[in-house]
Symmetry: C2
Subunit: 292 residues, 2 copies
């Protein structure tokens, strides 16, 4: 199996495929109500890794399917991800003015427009998945469960409730399982459904999703610590993030690094059970080695 | 065809059936995250006519189907209706403190919880419709189009943009077609799909939906005028609502009344083309004669 550069090229190629499809699926800016469609596009077409739709393509390939069969389902997960960022940034939630250096949707379009654009993106996600070429009703049910009150929205609820409070490792894991894990797992499993994977293969994709999703999150926490250390010019370690529930704060930097590597290794084992799981194994390793 | 009392009994019986199913479909209050599930239930189980799900049952019966086959699809439309009220009441939107005499969701649970409860209700609607026994993917697509950026959410966007401005009859009709018409039409058409209606029958249900939906709205505007007149003790007529875009303001009270009756008559004609459209014809007439 080839390492680094190959995977990066693959991810970049799939990102371009996904963005072309998103461009096609979103209503044009001049279709009324134009202001709403502008806000939806501002959110969904803003720069991003397109991780969730690429995972759907990879899940489909891992069971031997043609990736384009998972394109609509993948884009539906991206639209849900986009809506969740718009609503999470609202003044009543995280109250964020910037996202990746650009004004957040409510700063650019107003708060009412941001609420409505989020609602419309979530609704569009289900219109898109309902038009998928393979098992659309099953995909819609998977997307809804991943995104709903016992998935992503449940995770955001718990996150707001935990704010400023110390958390145990168990509580943190439960939070991430809902807030980001459910959508990552859902995307790769739906890819497998689009590729007509056997139930055992979907089970392996599900395992990969939970493990790699959590590895991604632990690595994210570690990147935050390193960024903070670089910015403040001192070793941030666990102290700089004390009080905030993160893996380095609970396990220490070395402990968190070991946990991320262990999760990626176990995700790799799950991928090894798949007919063409090589790239997923590689991606899990990349999650914990990346530096952005 | 029997008139008034029979129809009222029928609506009351169907309302009870719908509420029992909603009760079953919503996560229990003690399922984590409990606060989110409490807010969802507070919204979705609050007293209401359950018009949209009953229309789904009636659309199913009108094409000769057993109404219970449309129960899940109907409840999905009710969940979308419930979420839309929660988000429309938010401070950034209509900023409403009370709905039917009870504190709105953000007043009772906080603004973040209200945004998330709305998001979760919308998501649950698609999980529910994805489990429908007949053509779930088609139903999900219909629901998404009715609720989305060129349906209900588009209508709310236009409504906010029109606020405080005078409107022509044509603009008002376009607004209502999106804001309330799309969901009413979608519910009755989805009922027909659940009843395995022929395309021509679904076309007749669609016509009924647009016409009766608009009749309902014009009648609503008239009820508001009468309520205002009763409360202020003077004849409100068209003057009291001047500046606000309503049918009585544009057409005068008598003109609006004539329009509502004409729409109901045309809806009745559409229903007459259906195998068992009697109740839908009766309901359209009831829309413009009701006094609450």
């Amino acid at each position: 199996m080839k390492s680094g550069p190959d995977l990066k090229q693959y991810l970049e190629r799939q990102r371009a495929t996904v963005e072309k499809e998103l461009e096609r699926l979103l209503p044009a800016e001049d279709v009324p109500p134009a202001e709403l469609h502008k806000a939806m596009r501002y959110s969904a077409m803003s720069p991003g890794k397109r991780l969730r739709p690429i995972l759907a393509l990879m899940g489909c390939e891992a069971v031997g399917g043609k990736p384009e069969r998972a394109l609509r389902a993948g884009c539906a997960f991206e639209l849900v991800h986009a809506y969740s960022l718009v609503h999470d940034d609202l003044p009543a939630m995280d109250d964020a003015a910037l996202r990746r250096g650009r004004p957040t949707v409510h700063k650019a379009f107003g708060e009412a427009a941001a609420i409505l654009a989020g609602d419309a993106l979530l609704t569009l996600a289900f219109e898109v998945v309902a038009g998928a070429p393979v098992e659309p009703a099953r995909l819609a049910a998977e997307l809804a469960r991943a995104a709903g009150s016992q998935g992503m929205v449940g995770g955001q609820t718990v996150d707001l409730a935990m704010e400023g409070k110390p958390a145990t490792e168990k509580e943190l894991e439960a939070l991430h399982r809902w807030k980001t894990g459910a959508l990552i797992r859902g995307a790769v499993v739906c890819g497998g459904i689009c590729g007509r994977g056997a139930e055992a293969e979907l089970g392996a994709l599900s395992d990969w999703g939970w493990l790699a999703g959590l590895a991604f999150q632990v690595a994210d926490d570690l990147l935050d610590v390193e960024k903070t250390a670089a910015e403040t010019g001192k070793d941030a370690g666990g102290d700089a993030v004390a009080g905030k529930a993160t893996y380095p704060a609970i396990l220490g930097v070395e402990g968190a690094r070991a946990k991320a590597r262990d999760l990626a290794r176990r995700a790799g084992e799950a991928a090894a059970a798949l007919p063409s799981g090589g790239r997923l194994r590689e991606l899990a390793a990349y999650f914990v080695e990346r530096n952005s």
